[in-house]
Amino acid sequence: MNALHVLRAEGVLSVQDLGRPGHIAQGLSRGGAMDRLALIEAGALLGLKSVVAGIEMAGTGGLFTVDQPTRIALTGAAMTATLNDAPLQWQACHLIAPGQRLRIGGAQAGAYSYLVPAGGVLTPEWLDSRAAHLNIGIGAILTSGQKLKIGTDRAPETPSLIITVAPRFQGGTIRMMDGPQTSLFSDHVLATFCQTTFARAPRGNRQGVRLDADARFASDHAGSLASDMLLPGDLQMTGDGVPYVLLAECQTMGGYPRIGSVIPADLAQIAQTPPGGQIRFQRITLEQADALFRDEAGQLRDAAARCRYLTRDPAMMADLLSYQLVGGMTRGDELEED
């Protein structure tokens, strides 16, 4: 059996996949990775047909080893990474041999980073998902010394890939669409909302994050509305008009009015904005939003098209002698593909 050993867990680490959709009626939100795109990009780097579970790391990473040769993808917010002290590129996949020590340090920008083994993390499933849902006590934060069962990498010799990712780790402009309660806000409040620069609040969690600004965004209807269903991305105003963006482990129902909803394509950008990072909102039409819809299979295909072979500088390779440089079969032109 193959295992990923968490020799040291230094950040807030949990197992995540794309979560468990379909249970809103029971009060269970989808959960799953805070940056779903990063898990999809990991799947593309590893040449997978569907996304597998990996380790989500917030803040910093830890120290890891494996039992069998396994490729791992490193995606999401870039962290410092070394394999036996040789630096590894982020947004790329790498082969790890048993005994080699993978050390992952602090994030340079962004908030959530992912370590995904090619065979996926195989912790037990609950309702068809391995995602820890920390808010309701499903799964738990990983601790030092834990051994996680992982699937066997069926093609560890596959050359390493690197993926080009759009910048989403520093805040910026976020597109929002109307939701069920947008019309409960006045045109003036909506206009002001889109002209305001917000700072991501210092505290936040997997349920959501507060956005700070001097302005307030109240609706006359707040206070007496019937509660209704909430979804990740919703921009909820508490009674005093302070916005919260709801994220993966958000509640499923609430009564504070929502001014709109962050479109799925930009939700990773919100989740990845570090504390203090600046955010502005751009309201787009339903037609524009619908045109930006991509299902997960489509996103995986798009991500695969952004991958290319990773070339490493031999001078940087402390482990050069462990590589079999001339024995492999090669056509010699693979690097020219795509």
Binding site: P21, G22, H23, I24, A25, Q26, G27, L28, W126, N135, I136, G137, I138, M177, D178, G179, P180, L184, H221, A222, G223, S224, L225, A226, S227, D228, M229, L231, G233, T238, G239, D240, Q251, T252, M253, G254, G255, Y256, S261, I263, P264, L286, A289, D290, L292, F293, D295
Partner: protein, 248 residues
């Protein structure tokens, strides 16, 4: 109470793969009954492309597969059915089951009971009596797994949510706003006021039935002392002394 002019079914966007049909903005009894009826009907014969149906208090959310249907097609199909129901709004059906759930009101277990009772215009004792004698139903399950929205209390209990959030109420807390009670699944931040504490765990993934409560169940709270609550909170089945009667 069942004045049909109250009901204005509206189809609204809920994310890129969701349509929400809302019967009214506030939790009027006719709107709640109509939403439950619409959800039941959609469950029986889901429109093409439906992947998930979730009933709220006065609305129903349907999530769809964009490869099979469009937002507009689904909204039209749902609105047709909603309008038929809205034109002849039903009453709430009789409950099939009734829960009797012990609760310790006031003091450390209900720090905002006094404030709520004052707003309702009653003594704390009268407010407790009114809750314990009310004909209450589970109106919806939501916020957290298995967490019930319970109501409706008399009109005087139409308290707005707080503008400042309650930083944290414990699991099992009984809170109130907008003529309703919520019994919290997990410790949580909330804009509702805590009036009591129960030992009822709404969700336990390790239990045979992780989620014991269902929409439509009748609920009756019985007041117990703080010292009795300590024992009830320690019950190993996690039901805090609650009893379930099957009525039909």
């Amino acid at each position: 109470m069942s004045d049909p002019t109250e009901l204005t079914p509206t189809a609204l966007p809920a994310g890129l793969d969701g349509v929400l049909i809302r019967m009214a903005l506030t939790p009027a009894p006719a709107a709640m009954a109509a939403a439950q009826m619409l959800a039941a009907e959609l469950d029986r014969t889901p429109p093409k492309g439906t992947v998930e149906i979730a009933p709220g208090l006065v609305s129903v959310l349907v999530r769809f597969d964009a490869a099979v249907t469009t937002r507009d097609q689904l909204a039209k199909a749902m609105l047709r059915r909603a309008s038929v129901i809205a034109n002849d709004p039903p009453g709430l059906p009789d409950p099939a089951r009734r829960w009797t759930i012990p609760a310790a009101f006031g003091g450390d277990h209900g720090p905002q009971l006094g404030e709520v009772a004052r707003t309702v215009g009653q003594s704390e004792e009268a407010a407790i009596d009114e809750i314990c004698s009310a004909d209450l139903r589970i109106l919806a399950i939501g916020f957290a797994p298995g967490q019930p929205y319970v109501g409706l209390l008399p009109e005087a209990w139409n308290l707005p949510r707080m503008s400042e959030l309650n930083p944290q109420v414990p699991a099992g807390a009984l809170v109130s706003a907008v003529r309703q009670l919520v019994m919290f699944t997990a410790a949580s931040t909330t804009g509702w006021r805590q009036i009591a504490q129960t030992g009822f765990r709404c969700f336990d993934p390790g239990r045979d039935q992780p989620i014991p409560l269902r929409p439509g169940d009748a609920i009756r709270y019985t007041a117990v002392s703080a010292s009795d609550m300590a024992g009830l909170m320690a019950t190993t089945d996690g039901l805090g002394g609650a009893r379930l009667e099957v009525l039909r």
